[in-house]
C-alpha cells in the first residue's frame, strides 16, 4: 500500500499529542508565573566610591585579595546605550563574578539616566571629563600611575579615544565588540545610520530616546526578536529557570537610558557618517584622537555573528594603532551572547584574565623573548554557538 501524500492520520495524532502537552504546560506555567520568581539582576555587591553628576563609579567588594598575577585594578566602561547590568545578569552567567573569582579588583562606570540637563554633554565631557576623573580617582586610591581599562561596545570606542588621549594612564586596554571602523555595509545599523538626519532628530528629541533606539534594534530582526523569541517563551513557560532567565534578559533589554543629545549627534556624524576615528582624524574638545598614541598592549574581542558591530567594524583597530602587542579574538557568537551565553562564560572572561595576568605580572617580557604568538595574532574561537535559551539566542 502506497504512503498517503497527506498523512492526515499522523497530523491529527500529532495535533492531539500537542494539545495534551500544551494543556499540561499551561497548567504548570500558571504555577510558575504566579509563584515566586527570582528575577533580580546585578546582585553582586558593590559600593559607590565616586560620583560626578549622574555618573557613578562602582567598586565591587572583593571576595579575596587581588592575586599576584593581576594587581592592577580594572575599570570597565559600558556603552551609553542600555546598562552595565548586562555583565552581571545572574550568578551563573556573570562576567563580573568571573572577574572577581579570578581576583581582579573591579571597578565599573554606571552612566546613569541622562535627563534634559545632560543634553549638551559631548563626547569630550564623557571621555576627558567623567572617564578621566574616574580613572584619576582609582589611580589616587591605589597609589598607581596606570590602570587596566576595558570597554564594551560604544564604551569600547570611548576607551580607544581615552587611551589615545591619556596613554600614560592606561596599562592594558581591552576592547570588546567595539566599533571603530564605521565604513562598512555589513551591519544594517551602519546602512541605516547614514540615512538618518541626526540634527533634526536631536533638535526634536533633545536627548536620543532609549525606547526609540530599542525599537530600531528590534527592527534589525523582527522575525526573531519580536515573534520567535516570544514563541520560544510560550513553549518553555513551564520551566521556572527558563522563565527567570528570560525575564532577567527582558528587564535588561528594555532598561534603556536616553543618550545625551550632543554626544549622540557627534557619534553619528564623526563616526558613522565620516568614519573619522579609525583615520585618526576625530577631534574631542580641541584634541585630535591619534590612534598611533595607543602604545599599551591591546586585546580586541568581537563576535562573528554580531549584527550591531559586525566583524568589519571591529577587526581593523589593531592594525591602526601604535601598539606592538595586540591580539584579536573573534568569538563564534553575537553582540550580547559574548557576555551572557553560558558557553561563552567559559571562554570570554578566562581569556581576558589570562591575557591580563600575562601582562600585569610583568612576565610577558620573558615570554615574548621566546614567542611571537601574542603579536597581532587573530584567533577564532570555535564552537560557541548562540544556541542559548530563547532570550539571548539571537542577540
Amino acid at each position: 500500500m502506497d504512503n498517503p501524500k497527506i498523512p492526515i492520520d499522523l497530523i491529527l495524532k500529532h495535533m492531539a499529542e500537542k494539545a495534551d502537552k500544551a494543556q499540561v504546560r499551561v497548567q504548570k506555567a500558571s504555577d510558575v508565573l504566579l509563584g515566586p520568581l527570582s528575577t533580580d539582576i546585578a546582585t553582586t555587591p558593590y559600593d559607590i566610591v565616586f560620583q560626578e553628576d549622574r555618573v557613578r563609579l562602582k567598586h565591587y567588594r572583593p571576595k579575596k585579595r587581588p592575586t599576584d598575577d593581576i594587581k592592577t585594578p580594572l575599570l570597565v566602561v559600558y556603552a551609553l546605550i542600555n546598562r552595565e547590568t548586562m555583565l552581571d545578569l545572574q550568578p551563573e552567567r556573570s562576567v563580573v563574578k568571573s572577574f572577581m573569582d579570578s581576583g581582579i579588583d573591579l571597578y565599573m562606570i554606571d552612566w546613569g539616566y541622562p535627563t534634559g540637563i545632560d543634553k549638551f554633554l559631548t563626547i569630550d565631557d564623557h571621555v576627558n571629563g567623567y572617564m578621566d576623573n574616574a580613572v584619576d580617582y582609582i589611580r589616587k586610591r591605589h597609589g598607581i600611575k596606570k590602570i587596566n581599562l576595558m570597554g564594551i561596545c560604544m564604551g569600547g570606542t570611548f576607551c580607544v579615544m581615552y587611551s589615545a588621549l591619556h596613554s600614560g594612564k592606561v596599562k592594558n586596554l581591552i576592547t570588546t565588540v567595539c566599533p571603530t571602523n564605521f565604513d562598512t555595509d555589513q551591519g544594517l545599523l551602519h546602512i541605516w545610520m547614514k540615512n538618518v538626519d541626526v540634527d533634526k532628530m536631536i533638535d526634536a528629541f533633545g536627548n536620543m530616546p532609549g525606547d526609540l533606539m530599542n525599537l530600531g534594534f528590534l527592527l534589525l530582526n523582527p522575525a526573531r526578536l519580536m515573534i520567535d523569541k516570544y514563541i520560544g517563551f510560550m513553549e518553555n513557560m513551564d520551566n521556572k529557570a527558563f522563565v527567570e532567565n528570560f525575564i532577567r534578559m527582558e528587564k535588561w533589554i528594555f532598561d534603556s537610558p536616553d543618550v545625551p543629545g550632543e554626544t549622540f549627534r557627534q557619534f553619528i556624524k564623526d563616526c558613522y557618517r565620516d568614519n573619522l576615528l579609525i583615520q585618526s582624524k576625530m577631534k574631542i574638545g580641541d584634541k585630535r584622537v591619534d590612534l598611533k598614541k595607543i602604545t599599551m598592549p591591546v586585546l580586541n574581542i568581537y563576535g562573528q555573528y554580531d549584527h550591531l558591530v559586525p566583524p568589519a567594524a571591529a577587526d581593523i583597530l589593531t592594525k591602526n594603532i601604535g601598539s606592538k602587542d595586540t591580539q584579536d579574538i573573534c568569538l563564534d557568537t553575537g553582540h550580547i551572547g559574548i557576555y551572557v551565553s553560558s558557553k561563552t562564560q567559559k571562554e570570554f572572561a578566562p581569556k581576558i584574565v589570562q591575557w591580563l595576568s600575562q601582562r600585569d605580572k610583568g612576565n610577558l617580557a620573558k615570554k615574548k623573548k621566546g614567542s611571537a604568538a601574542l603579536n597581532t595574532s587573530k584567533e577564532s574561537e570555535p564552537g560557541i554557538k548562540t544556541a542559548e535559551q530563547g532570550a539571548i539566542q539571537h542577540l
Binding site: K5, H14, G116, W192, M201
Partner: protein, 297 residues
C-alpha cells in the same frame, strides 16, 4: 425650467417681505431710541457713552444695509447668488471626490494584484502609486488650506497650530507607507509557505508536525526582512517616517510652548537656556578645579 422660475419668484417674494420687515424694524429702533433711558439724555449720553454710540451706529448701518438690499436690483443679485450656491458647492466637492475616487481606484487595483506581484526575496519596483496618490491628494487639496496666511493678533499661534496639524498629517501618510512596507514580508512569506506546502504535498513529504512548518515560515520571514531592510525603498521610507516624526514633534513642541507661555510654567525653551547655562558654568568650574589640582593648591 418653469419650476425653477416659480421657485425663484417665491424666494424673491419671501426675501422682499423679510427685508422690508427688517428695514422697518431698524427704522423704528432708530426713531424711538428705545435703547435710551430718557429722551433728553439722548444727546448727552451718546456723546458721553461710547458703547451706546457704537450700538446706535451699528443699528444705523444695519438700517442702511436693509434699505439697500430691499431695492429690486440688489434683491435680484442676492437671489442669483443663492442660486449659485449649489453649483459652487458641487465644484468644491468635485475636486476632493475625484481625488478620493482616484485613490480608491488605485487601492482596488492594488488589492486585485495582491498575490500576483509578490515574488519571494524581491522588493524591487514596489507599487508606490497608492501612497503617491494619497500624498498628492493631501498636498493638493488639504495642505494648501492649512497654509493659508493667517491674519490678526493670533496669526502666529494659528499658523503654528496649522503647522502642527499639517506635520501630523504628513506623519500619518509616511507612517502608513512604512507600515505597509513592514507588513510586506509577511504577505510574501505566507505565499512562499503556501507554495512550499503545495510542493511538499505533491511530493508526499508534508511534515506531520506543525512546528516544522513554523520553522520554515520563520526562517523565510527572517530572510524576507533581511532583503527588505537592505533595499533602498525601505531605507528611504524609514528616513522619511523618522523625518516626519521629528518635524511633527518640533511643530507640536512649538504649540505646547505657545500654550505654556501664557501660564506661569517654564517652557522647553526656557529650560534649554537654563540647562545650557548650567552646563557651561559647570564646565568652567570643573576646568578651574583641575587647573588648581595641577598647581597643587
Amino acid at each position: 425650467m418653469v419650476n425653477n422660475e416659480a421657485l425663484t419668484g417665491e424666494v424673491t417674494t419671501v426675501l422682499q417681505s423679510w427685508l422690508n420687515a427688517t428695514q422697518q424694524f431698524w427704522q423704528t429702533v432708530d426713531k424711538d431710541g428705545s435703547l435710551e433711558s430718557q429722551p433728553e439724555d439722548r444727546q448727552k449720553n451718546t456723546s458721553k457713552n461710547p458703547p451706546r454710540q457704537t450700538l446706535l451706529s451699528i443699528m444705523k448701518t444695519w438700517g442702511a444695509i436693509s434699505n439697500a438690499m430691499s431695492e429690486p436690483s440688489s434683491l435680484n443679485a442676492m437671489v442669483r447668488g443663492i442660486a449659485l450656491i449649489p453649483d459652487m458647492t458641487t465644484r468644491i466637492t468635485n475636486t476632493g471626490i475625484n481625488g478620493y475616487f482616484k485613490l480608491q481606484e488605485q487601492i482596488i487595483d492594488k488589492m486585485g494584484e495582491m498575490g500576483q506581484k509578490t515574488k519571494p526575496y524581491s522588493f524591487e519596483n514596489l507599487d508606490y502609486d497608492s501612497f503617491k496618490a494619497l500624498s498628492e491628494l493631501y498636498e493638493k487639496e488639504i495642505k494648501q488650506i492649512l497654509s493659508i496666511p493667517q491674519l490678526g493678533l493670533s496669526r502666529f499661534y494659528q499658523e503654528n497650530m496649522n503647522q502642527a496639524v499639517d506635520k501630523f498629517n504628513m506623519l500619518s501618510t509616511s507612517f502608513t507607507e512604512f507600515m505597509s512596507l513592514i507588513s510586506l514580508p509577511m504577505e510574501k512569506t505566507f505565499k512562499v509557505l503556501q507554495d512550499q506546502i503545495e510542493n511538499m504535498t505533491r511530493q508526499g513529504n508534508l511534515p506531520n508536525d506543525a512546528s516544522e512548518l513554523y520553522r520554515i515560515w520563520i526562517k523565510t520571514l527572517e530572510g524576507h526582512y533581511m532583503t527588505l531592510f537592505k533595499s533602498s525603498e525601505y531605507t528611504e521610507s524609514m528616513g522619511m517616517t523618522l523625518n516626519s516624526l521629528e518635524e511633527f514633534i518640533a511643530a507640536r513642541n512649538i504649540v505646547i510652548q505657545d500654550a505654556l507661555s501664557s501660564l506661569p510654567i517654564p517652557t522647553n525653551k526656557d529650560m534649554d537656556a537654563l540647562y545650557k547655562e548650567l552646563y557651561q558654568l559647570k564646565k568652567k568650574i570643573k576646568n578651574l578645579e583641575k587647573t588648581r589640582c595641577y598647581h597643587g593648591e
